[in-house]
């Protein structure tokens, strides 16, 4: 689905991603772990197309297309979804209005008519149930006055509505209490099919108890320094990152 080859990117003169290689196939769940400042969020921003980052080398191929050539909204419309670590507020715009705009923009890109409102509402109610979201939520303004947990749940709700091919969950677990974490993870698991893929970016192993990855990658200094199965996450939980990062530092010194 997505193949990242030797991706190098940074802000201004600082290189943050230092040659990332990663392939994610349909039906797979990949976890990207790593200490603070290792480049996890930069990777998700670059995939989503945030302009602040300059890609200096490498490529991202998404379903046969060069993703780096496309503006962020087109990437989104091709099925790339980013669950933000810090979702922004959009005052005065209700959740339902925002999602409606979002869905219809995507349909427009595919030359489809806007989704009829009754159908849209029905879909919203179904997905709200999936994430145990209460009535009245749809008319609240986007992220305005939301608690940290509500914001994250709102991200996953949008994901449920947009049904992306590739979902990138950037630190979705941060700010969630254990119950909310369970609900969110449960939602993500239910949305998983053999045709879509998920990249879970996290600092802690905790989320991976609920969303079990097929592959775990460790990111350090903008490189993937180790990949393995789900057990790698447990190993990291026990031993920390040092034992891998030190080895890597020697190698790249």
């Amino acid at each position: 689905m997505i193949k990242i080859t030797n991706l190098k990117a940074g802000i201004e003169d600082t290189l943050i991603l230092n040659g990332i290689n990663l392939e994610v196939k349909a039906g797979e769940v990949h976890a990207i772990m790593g200490p603070n400042g290792s480049g996890k969020s930069t990777l998700s921003s670059v995939i989503a197309g945030k302009e602040d980052y300059e890609v200096t080398e490498g490529e991202i191929n998404f379903e046969g297309e060069d993703l780096l050539e496309l503006p962020p909204e087109e990437r989104a419309n091709k099925g790339v979804f980013l669950s933000f670590q810090y979702p922004v507020e959009i005052p005065g715009i209700s959740v339902s209005n925002f999602i409606k705009t979002s869905i219809n923009e995507r349909r427009k890109a595919k030359r489809l008519e806007p989704m009829p409102t009754p159908k849209l509402l029905k879909m919203m109610r179904e997905r709200m149930e999936l994430l145990s979201i209460k009535e009245g939520y749809l008319s609240r303004n986007m992220n305005e006055g939301f608690s940290g947990g509500e914001k994250k749940r709102n991200e996953i709700f949008q994901m449920a509505m947009l049904e992306p091919k590739l979902a990138i969950l950037d630190e979705t677990d941060s700010g969630l209490d254990i119950d909310a974490l369970r609900i969110v993870a449960n939602g993500v698991n239910k949305l998983k099919t053999k045709d879509n893929a998920t990249i879970v970016i996290t600092h802690y192993q905790r989320l991976l108890d609920y969303i079990v990855p097929d592959f775990v990658h460790v990111l350090h200094d903008g490189r993937i320094i180790k990949s393995g199965g789900a057990t790698l996450a447990h190993e990291l939980e026990e031993k920390g990152y040092d034992w891998i990062t030190k080895e890597a530092d020697k190698k790249w010194a």
Partner: protein, 485 residues
Amino acid sequence: MSGKKKQSEEELLNEVTSSEYKYGFTTDIESDTIPKGLSEEVVRIISAKKNEPKWMLEYRLNAYKVWLEMEEPNWANVSYNKPNYQDVIYYSAPKQKPVLDSLDDLDPEMKKTFDKLGISLEEQKRLANVAVDIVMDSVSVATSFKETLAEKGIIFCSISDAIQDHPELVKKYLSSVVPVRDNFFSALNSAVFSDGSFCYIPKGVKCPMELSTYFRINEAGTGQFERTLLIADEGSQVSYLEGCTAPMRDENQLHAAVVELIAMDDADIKYSTVQNWYPGNDKGVGGVFNFVTKRGVCHKNAKISWTQVETGSAVTWKYPSCILKGDNSIGEFFSVAVTNNYQQADTGTKMLHLGKNTKSTIIAKGISAGKSDGNYRGLVRIAKGATNSRNFSQCDSLLMGDKCGSHTFPYIEVKNNSSKVEHEATTSKIGEDQIFYCNQRGIGTEEAIALIVNGYCKDVLNQLPMEFAVEAKKLLEISLEGSVG
């Protein structure tokens, strides 16, 4: 079609097509022969052309004398080259726009804007002055409105007609809220106003329609010195809308209108404005100076609500205000003011609390883009006798880009200790983060800005009559097009 009906339509058609000469000025003085500049002679000519009664001429002459003694104000936070008042032509008949054969002849830029605003084809034709078939149409619509209003005893006509037909009302109320010597521009307007609207709602009558619809259909070059007088008698109710979302390319550089509202006991006036005069080009050349005095007085339990969406004009100087004279009266001001390119706006409101238990609400939203400057200036004055009064003000500014400016000048004077005044102000910038967030959800940048701006203005746009709110939203989008990125 019956013969009678046909005849009346012909009459109406005739009335509309010959409206250039409606005010009956004689053929020996051509409209463009009136000399430039302002003098007693010019004031007399204007009054004579309009065939006004003597008291009206006296009123104008007095205003002219007052104006001569006054100086143009310069306290507003705007800078512009002051017009040369002796270089202005103070009277010309409503200019006949060139008549087009079809919409295909219309300036493609105008056409594009009309389409974006979602203005119906019929109305596009009317606004663009495409000839005849459509005139029939709007005449018949206008007629049916006129009949409905007349049945209720509502008077709605041009101020010139009102001076002729309802002199007692005009005499009683003209300048009762905005005195001639209120300010430089009100004095000027009083001396030379060319036309405007007059509206009287009788006691206890609820006006059955938005006067907007009517007004839009009758929109015509009411000219640069417009005068509006609206009287809502006891217990009556009216919603009035002036202006138009369609771009108005007026060559008149100076606009100095005066609007006076009188809300008698228990009356309710809602006055909405959408102002989209030519703002000048993107280099800051040209554009209208919009120096407007708008004020209403509320008697007991009355309410006046001003809503304005201001996107046009090169320089705007405008403070729709409420004098809360009667006990328990209510004043409201909802405003969105957009400045882009080199536009400047100094706008806000005054809420003057005189009666007991009076309440006022101010929601002002400024949006500045390009190299423009937007200012909010507001006064809340609570007099000693206005016990238990309340005001809530919220002034927000939204900046787009880093070359624009926004300022807030709130003035608060409270003379008693049982009243309560709240003021909230925020300044924010449309963040790249917000735009990227929308982008990531498949929403393009232009669309994202529109969404964010509409959300920001929601509290004000919600006050507009429904169908107009839709157009106003689109107008905001168009006004801000290309301002980020």
